[in-house]
Symmetry: C2
Subunit: 151 residues, 2 copies
């Protein structure tokens, strides 16, 4: 299927909130992946860099909890980010199980770049909504995310 050849979905689907959510998330996800790929990045890169930038250095487990990324994926993504020189992995002398992850200056530049890319994506994504509708949507989604975000 390519997206250019869509017809109207059945009523039963079109009115199903879970379907609307996942269908609306699809172009969001696609746009984000597509645009980030043009600079060699993925969504996980931005999420981890933003988390490090806002909360400062942290262990990988903490990073997973803060970013909402699975620990195993945190490990893999940090491998990529260290390869790019965007973060540094240092053993924690006070707890030898841990690695302390720190964002580098190159990492902060990278974060700014990815934030720019994503800002353009938001515009494209929300084109059909007015400013106040965008605010409503953000508010409603935030309620959902916070409600389902904890066990």
């Amino acid at each position: 299927m390519d997206r250019s050849a869509w017809e109207t979905a059945p009523e039963r689907l079109r009115t199903l909130p879970s379907w609307l959510l996942t269908q609306a998330a699809t172009p969001a996800h696609r746009l984000v992946s597509e645009r980030l790929a043009t600079v060699g990045a993925r969504g996980y890169h931005f999420r981890l860099l933003a988390t490090l930038d806002e909360f400062g250095p942290a262990s990988q487990a903490t990073l997973g909890r803060r970013s909402g990324i699975h620990l195993s994926d945190v490990v893999a993504t940090l491998n990529e980010l260290t390869d790019g020189g965007f973060v540094r992995r240092t053993p924690d002398p006070s707890d030898r199980r841990r690695n302390v992850i720190t964002i580098t200056p190159a990492g902060r530049r990278r974060l700014r770049k990815l934030a720019d890319v994503l800002a353009a994506v938001q515009d494209e994504l929300l084109t059909p909504l007015s400013e106040s509708e965008r605010g409503q949507l953000a508010r409603l989604l935030t309620v959902l995310v916070e409600h389902h975000g904890r066990g």
Copy 2:
């Protein structure tokens, strides 16, 4: 990561519409998959059965366009649905490239069952929202889906 161990995400993420959308879609997708799995079904099953029920018999390509499912996935899913006796695949005498897919009585019963499962999922998903908020959300998401649904 398990979802019970979340902390608050960084501001930069929490206020990003694309992130809110994909994060809200995650529990939706998880609930749908989880609950459908308890009766041995997947999201694609419901989508195809609902499409067949509402629009009637159709070729596989048409079914793909109407349901928004990729043609290759339509083929695979219809294999599962025929194995379960929920649809019938008949060669189209008027166009020998085509198979005409028809929902069976067992398929309609199956559809009702899956619809029941999904109705419960919606309630769970939208718990924190009032009736009017649910309406707002549905409206806003519909605008997005329709805007991005065509090429």
